[in-house]
Structure formats: structure tokens, C-alpha cells
Symmetry: D2
Subunit: 319 residues, 4 copies
């Protein structure tokens, strides 16, 4: 193996730059040429590839986003498109690829490996924490801290008024961000896609708590379960006091990565290069009980990571 490339694909996540830095620098130290592919799979198809150096990844670890930029590339579901991508890689003499991204991107990576015979290693990068067989994905920890900081600010004002605050958070089909952020801020309610929501029950619970003297009322809702507006509409006439809405949107994908995400990214970047050098392909670097291991991508993609319902239960017990 002489030349490897790295690509960031799909929604970006804090920590991607730290992983790029690790792949580039560790690759170079291992005697490889390392190339960066711009704008995800779309840039790969456009042959938008450039040589990376030790210096070209200086000062990027602390920055959100991805210096390689990213994009979604729906046409990558087609076999011909992937064959084209493999052809670009071969034409450029690239004999190993590192893909950082979420479910869709890793699916593309798996096909590049299994179907197109490109040696490929994935790194889980998504704030949704929905990739199975790894304890965490890049960006989850940073995202959680951003959400927690926002809810904490809401609580300042929440104790000053007679109102319910509804905050909508990301996570696509996963309720992980909503659950953990709600748990660690003591939110009064958490609505996730994994459980049906009963607004009547919820309204009664909030009314009871108000009667018992609680002056905060914060409801965290995962975007995959309902929109903040839907929740507001359902609750307002049941609880009889006003609601106020916060939709954090893409600020959850940004920000300087936390220490945790930078460390995880650095370790996974190194592990990805090592895996390529060992001849592994179609695998994912994964955090498994404090250790970085590799797992088969087709195993990983068989099903989404499930929400630990114990966490949701815990949130209810402690709030």
C-alpha cells in the first residue's frame, strides 16, 4: 500500500477534522502518500482530489466542520456510480480509502469494499449515535454538550416564568441526543421516536408536577418523534399555560470538538490507517469498552444502534 485517500461524507460532525489530521499525519509517518477527497463522494466522482501534507492539517483539530467539506450523494446507491468512483481511485493509484460519515456514507463504503474491491475502512462520524457496534460516533459528545448548554440557558429563564419550554433536537430516527440531554439537565419530559407519545398522559404529568410546586417545565423532543410545534399544539390546551419553542437546528453539528471527540477521532484515524496496512477491508473502527477495534461493516449496517431504554427510564426516575 502506497497511496491512501480520505473522504468525509454526509452530514458533518465535530471531530471529523481531528480524524483527518490523524489519518494524514499517521499515514505519512507510516510512509504513505495521503490524499484528501473534497466534497464527499460527489467530489470523488469529480476527481476533486489533492495531496495532503503534515502542514495541510495543522491547526484544524479544534475546528468544527470538515476542511474537506462534505456532501450528500444520492446517486451513490447505484452500482454504476460506485464503479465509476472505484475507477477514479484506481486511476489515481489510490489503494486504500478511509471514509468518515454516518449510515449512508458507510453503506457506500461497504459497497466500495465488497463490490468494487477497494480496500476501505470506515470511521463512524455522526451526531446521531445511531451506528451500531461502536459505543460512540464522532461528534456525539460535542453535540450533547451543545444541547445541554442550550437547555441550561432555558432553565435560567424557565424558573422565572409560568411557561413550558419545548426544545427540538436532532438525531434523525434516534432518540439518543434527546434522552441523554434531557437526563443530564433534569428535563421534565423527553419525547423520542422509540416510544409512542401519549399527549394526554404527558399533559397530566406536567400539570401534576406544577401542582406539586415545580416551576420549571422543559420538554425535549427528538426531531424523529415530532416537531416542537406539534408538541406545543398538543400540550398548550391540555396544560393551559403558554409554550415557547427552541429549534437548535444545525448549531448541533458545529462547534469546536470536545476533548472526548478529539481523542476518539485521533485514535480512530490511526486505527483506520493501521487496518488498511494490515490488509483489512470493509471494516469500521469502533469504540468497544475503551478500546478501538475494527468490526465488519456489513455486520454494523445490519441494524441501527438501539436506544438504551434504561437511560430513558433513569431520566424519568431522577427528574
Amino acid at each position: 500500500m502506497k497511496k491512501i485517500a480520505i473522504v468525509t461524507s454526509g452530514g458533518d460532525a465535530p471531530g471529523m477534522n481531528a480524524a483527518i489530521r490523524a489519518v494524514v499525519r499517521y499515514g505519512i509517518k507510516k510512509g504513505l502518500e495521503v490524499y484528501g477527497i473534497k466534497r464527499g463522494y460527489a467530489g470523488l466522482l469529480d476527481e476533486d482530489i489533492e495531496r495532503m501534507t503534515f502542514a495541510s492539517v495543522g491547526g484544524i483539530m479544534e475546528r468544527g466542520g470538515t476542511i474537506l467539506r462534505s456532501s450528500r450523494c444520492p446517486e451513490f446507491v447505484r452500482k454504476e456510480t460506485r464503479a465509476e468512483a472505484a475507477e477514479v481511485l484506481r486511476r489515481n493509484g489510490i489503494d486504500g480509502l478511509v471514509v468518515i460519515g454516518g449510515e449512508g456514507s458507510l453503506n457506500g463504503a461497504m459497497f466500495l469494499g465488497q463490490e468494487q474491491k477497494i480496500p476501505v475502512v470506515g470511521i463512524p462520524g455522526t451526531i446521531d449515535n445511531d451506528i451500531s457496534m461502536t459505543d460512540m460516533s464522532l461528534g456525539v459528545d460535542t453535540c450533547l454538550n451543545t444541547v445541554v448548554d442550550a437547555i441550561q440557558k432555558l432553565k435560567d429563564t424557565a424558573t422565572s416564568h409560568e411557561r413550558a419550554f419545548i426544545i427540538e433536537v436532532m438525531g434523525r430516527t434516534s432518540g439518543y441526543i434527546a434522552t441523554v440531554s434531557g437526563l443530564v439537565t433534569g428535563a421534565e419530559a423527553i419525547i423520542v421516536p422509540e416510544l409512542p407519545v401519549n399527549y394526554e398522559e404527558l399533559g397530566n404529568k406536567l400539570l401534576e408536577e406544577r401542582e406539586r410546586g415545580k416551576i420549571n417545565c422543559i420538554v425535549v423532543v427528538a426531531e424523529g418523534a415530532a416537531s416542537a410545534y406539534t408538541v406545543a399544539r398538543h400540550l398548550e390546551y391540555r396544560i393551559g399555560y403558554e409554550t415557547r419553542i427552541t429549534i437548535l437546528g444545525h448549531i448541533q453539528r458545529g462547534g469546536s470538538p470536545t476533548s472526548f471527540d478529539r481523542l476518539l477521532a485521533s485514535r480512530m484515524g490511526v486505527a483506520a490507517v493501521d487496518a488498511l496496512l494490515r490488509g483489512e477491508t470493509s471494516v469500521l473502527t469502533a469504540l468497544n469498552g475503551g478500546k478501538i477495534v475494527t468490526v465488519e461493516l456489513d455486520e454494523v449496517l445490519k441494524e441501527k444502534k438501539k436506544l438504551d431504554m434504561e437511560l430513558l427510564n433513569l431520566a424519568g426516575l431522577l427528574s
Copy 2:
């Protein structure tokens, strides 16, 4: 003057606690008894009043919200209600009142002073920065930093995708928060209530910038001008790429106050007590060129503070 009271009214703002602390501690040092009125004018009418001590305001300066809690009290527009409030104050022997709040609250304060003959001093506390005759109100600086931090996070992800990000910020009828936060983050567009918005022109401008190579597209919209959804709807079909929305909501009212807000609050709290001791009434403590002065409340409330259009102009020139 022997007994004074302090009340926080209307929407809360970071720095209110620092002002409460200053009024209480400075008042006590000046030989006064100081009382806290809970839940704004509503609590005043309910006679929800308690003695404050040096210790009761310990450790509050750094906290968002207001330990006295706040509320809106629409019935305070009625003269009889205000007479009742004045009666409560007199019955409790309170011969001086400090009111911290925004326009509506200060209006109530003015009437308590002029009409009900209660010695009263206002402190401008509102994130909207719409109180005239003072350079700044409590909470504005903290709010701006919260908004700037959020936009900065958006920019991380904005450089990674082909999208426009629309962020809706507070300010009621004022475009100050939108203007300054947009200016200091280099937002591509700022929509304020003070100027009509021409979506066709705006769409063309954004398209041109994209063609010139700009990869960021951040639009800051003041809630008083339009909702983020309205802006998105108008822009999407004109610019032809997707939009993503962030509505910060009440996180803009929370958070630990900045150094600036704590200092301003401490100085205004002291100035308010001094004004009462000098026998001034129906005045507002105001920041005037680095100095804290008092200005007549009826002058202040004649018209809203105007947005400095030079700032908006500057934002356009530099972005």
C-alpha cells in the same frame, strides 16, 4: 427613606440578579432595609414581599434569570390596579421602589411614580436594547454573545454544505440583536423590522455571492421582521438550494451574564439606590458614554430607541 423594595418585571434578562445584589447590598450599607418583591407586579399585588439580607444575594451574580422571579402583569395598565399596588407598598412602609425591566415594566414604574407618588427608579433590563436614552440595557451583551456563539457554530457546518442557514433571533420590534450579531459574524444577510425586505433582491444577492465563490450562506432574521419559516419559503425557490432553520428562542434570555452585564448591573443598582436617597423619582438609570446617569422616565418612554442604521450599513459593507 428607611425601607426600599426591588422588583423584576416582564421578560427576564441576564444581569438582573447582579442588579438585585447591588441594590440589596448597597442599600443595606446605606442603612436601609431592603425588600424583594416576588413575581413582578403580580407578586406586588399579592403582597409577596420578603426581607433581603446581605447573605440572601450571595452567589447570585453569576446566575441567569432572576431569583425574585418575574411575570407579565397586563392588568397593570389599569389605574386602579396601580393604586392597589401603591397601597400595598405604603402598607408595608416601603418608601422607595426599584423596578428592573423593559418598556412595559418601566411604563408601570413611571405611573407608580407620577400618578401614585411612589418614589421609584427604573433600571433598564431587556435583551431587546429598545430602551431609549441609555446606551445599553441589562442582558443585551450576554444575549449577543449567545447569538454570536450559535451563528459561529452554524458557520462550521455551513462551509461544509451547499445550503442556506436561516437563524431567527429575538428583539421584538427591534432589529438590534439581528444587526449586531449578523455584523460581527459576517452573515450574508440581515433582516430587520426597521427596513422592508425585498426577497427578490435578497435572493439575487445570495445567488451572485454563491457564483462569486462564497460557500457560506447565513441569514439572520429578527423575530419582529419575519419568522425563519417565512424567510425560508421566500428564499428557497429563488435560490434553488435547501435552507435549514434555527430558532434560538428563550436560550437568548438565559446564561450566566457576561462581565459587561454584571458590571453595568452593579453600577446601575448602586445608582438606583443613590437616586432614591437623593429624592429623585420617576427616573431611569442610564449608561451615557461610560457614565451612569439618571434620565426622566417619561422622556425615555416617549419613543423607542432607534436602530443605528450605520451598523446595518457596516454589516453590508464588510460581509
Copy 3:
């Protein structure tokens, strides 16, 4: 088991309040009376104990420090003192104790359990991350983010001058904080107690990097290895440019806990109560590969957690 108590001992760590909250609220939900012991083992000896309620731990999760306060209690190494402490617990009808703290405190806990036959469960709370058999202790993650944030600020100014910046961080005899914070900020050198430091070699390395064009020079030193002043004195005449010093001190123990620390604390608090209810004693709640388990305190205290030298190696490879 009817009555349990909780105590925080030794140096405080962010997350302690979240653990107190979890023990109190979960304990109450399980039908227990829960008591808080003030000021560590010293307060236990003084019988400074008070009943905790669901409300008494409201709003504490986000706060640094410990609402129970803490203290060091050197006399706890004496058997008679521990017998006295056990007597206080028995006199108060307390039949289960949760101790949150670092090595010394957990040692006291082990003796209370094994020697004095008090059912006791420990929770690892120390920013030093030197407790073995648990992946993390409470406060480590928050501390790391505080240190990383500080180093990041140094880097801003470091790129503007011809200087070396030396930052001294905590960790007692452990180099974990120095290693990880240095790794994830790309520090030019990391000095830890686990490895001898060769100042001549280090000086040469820094000079070479300067010659290769590096304009940053940040040295992270663990307090257990040397003081920042010692490092400065050794380096200055070797590298020939000025050094500047930062000693973070106890700001590393403060701050609102991160999402990670709050979650870990909540889970460990619940696990500690469950362990007491199951009749376990002289055990520690530990994070083991994403799961919370209990491990024997005497096993834990046999030796300190070792620094993963792979991390130090990684830092060198990537910087």
C-alpha cells in the same frame, strides 16, 4: 436497609453534585431515607448530618463543587477515628454509606466496610483519573475540557510571537490530564511523571521544530513531573527564546460538569444505591466498557491506574 447516607470527601470534582442528586432521588424512590453528611469524613465525625429530600437536590446537577462540601481528614488513617465514624453512623441508624472521592477517600471507605462492618459503596470522583479498574472517574472529562480550552487560547497568542508557552496542569502523580490535553491540542511537548524528562533532548526537539517552521511552542507539564517554573528554567537557556507560564490551579476542579460527567455520575449514583440494596459492600462503582459494574475496593486500591503509554506515543506521532 432503611437509611443511607452520602458523603463527598477529599478534593472536589465536577459531577459530584450530579451523583449526590442521583443517590438521593433514586434512594428515595426505592423507599429509603437518605442523609447527607457535610464536609467529608470530618463532618461525619462532627455528626454534621442532615436529611435530604427530592427538592434539596433540585438544580444542583449543573453546578461544580459539591453542595455537601468536602474536606481532607488526615486522622482518618487511624483505626480509632474510623471506629468513631462508624459509631456515629450506627447511632444515627444509618445502615449504608456512599462515599464519593479519590484514592484517599476510597481507602477510608474500604476500611469503614471491611474493618468497621459498615455497608459502604464508593464512587470514583477525582479529576486525576488515577483510580484503577474504572475507565473514568467523575470530573476527568470536565477537567480535560477546561484544560483544552485554556491551551486553545494559548495557541491563539502562541502563533503571534516567538515564545514558548509552558502550562502546568493537575493530576498529582498521574500524567493523564497532561497527556490527553496535550494530545488533543497538538502540544509540542508533554512532560509526565511516568517518564523521565531529558531537557537537553527536549530543547533540541523544540529547536528543530522551530527551524522546520513551526511557530507554536506549547509545553504541557503535569504537576507531578515538575513545576512550570522548573521547566521554564531548564528550557530557556537551551532554546534561547523567552518562555511564558500558565498555572491553571484549581480552576481545573471547577466548572459546570460536561454531559459525560453528569451522565456517568447519574448512572454511578443509581448503581451505588442498587449495590447497597443488593447487600454488596466495600465495592466501587466502575465504568467498564460502557457498562456500570461494581468492583472490590481492595482490588481497586492495590495499585494506581497506569497511564496508557500508547496515548503519549500517539501525541508524539501526531504533533
Copy 4:
């Protein structure tokens, strides 16, 4: 006027990049060519000058430090050196210069203007807030928030132990940072160069407060008054409990600038270009009661800005 240049000199301060951006972009919009001089006056002497474009200042506003880098240049006190610098500027056709820096740098600017007849405008950039005739200098507000954040973290742990915490902050011969940061965090004592310190009196005050029940003890000391170690040595044997030390060092110069500093920098950058275009020279852009004005550099440099002793008094009254 066709070509102007900008230079950052001396110690860096947050906001310098925002000022560079404003000078460059506004200058270009006004039809000027704008050049950046690297590494302060030293780079000017080395003719290290490059053309700046609208794009070359993209994304810099939010970053600490200065993209032009800075340096101290002691030889600039010599007239011949300044003549050489003026010659470099003339040789490059530069007929206007903007200098961002503190006292020493502005002194150099004044001489370039008055003695060497280079049209020059200064912008006050120093965290020390010791430049007279302007309400604030660039970087002061950001620095204050960094210090306040650090003290706040100390307070978390301070309430948990029986200790005094001594924190040394910057400011050279000015006690402004110490005074304001101590005031807005309720520090128990503030030591500044402007007032002699009486350790016996201070020790007694701290002991009395401890006896009255205060459990925090935070002492903020300005580097110009004494080192934290000196204060510790003086206090420890007088108060009889341990002290702990924090020396923030250069983290006070770093960090993403606050909204206030970015706005001030943007306005001053524009004002500097306008002043050059109007033919003004040897002036400083200054904040004067909310407005940006220009003042004569030789007036400014006659004496240092004095500390407002009222602030120090206020801190004592309220803590």
C-alpha cells in the same frame, strides 16, 4: 491616497483580526489597495509586506491572535530605525498606515506620523485597558470574560474547602482587569498597583469574614502589584489556612473575541480608513461614549489611562 497598509504590533489582543478585516474590506470598497505587514514593526523593517484581498480576511473575525502576527521591536525607539521604516513604506508606495497595538506600538506610530511624515492612524489594541482618551481598547472585554470564567470555576471549588485562592491576572501597570473581574465575581480582595497593599489589614479582613461565616476566599491580584506567590507568602501565616494559586498567563490574550470586541474592532477599522481618507494623521480611533472619534496620539500618550477608583470602591462595598 491609493495604497494603505496595516500592521499589528506588540502583545496581541482578541479583536485584532476583526479590525484587520474591517480595514482591508472597507479600504478595498473605498477604492484603495490594502497591504498587510507581517510581524509588527520588525516585519516592516524586513519589508515583509503582502497585498490583502477581500478573501484573505475571510473567516478571521472569530479567531484570537492576529493573522499578520506581531512582535515587539525595541529598536523602534531609535530615530534611524523609524526613518528606515518610513523609507520602506515610501518605497512600496504606501501612503497611509494603520497601526493596531498598545502603548509602545502607538508611540512608534506617533513618531512615524509626526517625525517621519507618514500618514498614520492608530487603533488601541491591548487587554490592559491602559490607553487614555478611549473608553475601551480591543481585547479588554474578551480578556475580562476569560478571567471571570476562570474565577467562577475557582468559586465552585472554593466553597468546598477551607482555603484561600489567589489568582494573578494581567494588566501590566494597570489594575483594571483585576478590579473589574474581582468586582463582577464578588472576590473577597483585589490587589492593584494603583494602591499600596497592607497585608496585615488584608489578613485581618479575611479572618473576620471567615468568622462571620464566609466560606469563599478569593483574592485577585494584578501582575503589576505583586505575584500570586508573594501574596500567598504574606497571607498564609497571617490567616492560618492554606492558599492555592492560579496564574492565568497568556490565556488572557487568546480566545475568540466577544461580540463587543468584534463590533468595536469593526467600527474602529472603518474609522481608521475614513480618517486616513480625510487626511488626518497621528491620531487614534477612540470609543467616546458610544461613538467612535479620533483623538491626537500625542495627547493620548501624555499619560496612561487612570483606574477609576470608584470601581475598586464598589467592589469593596458589594462583596
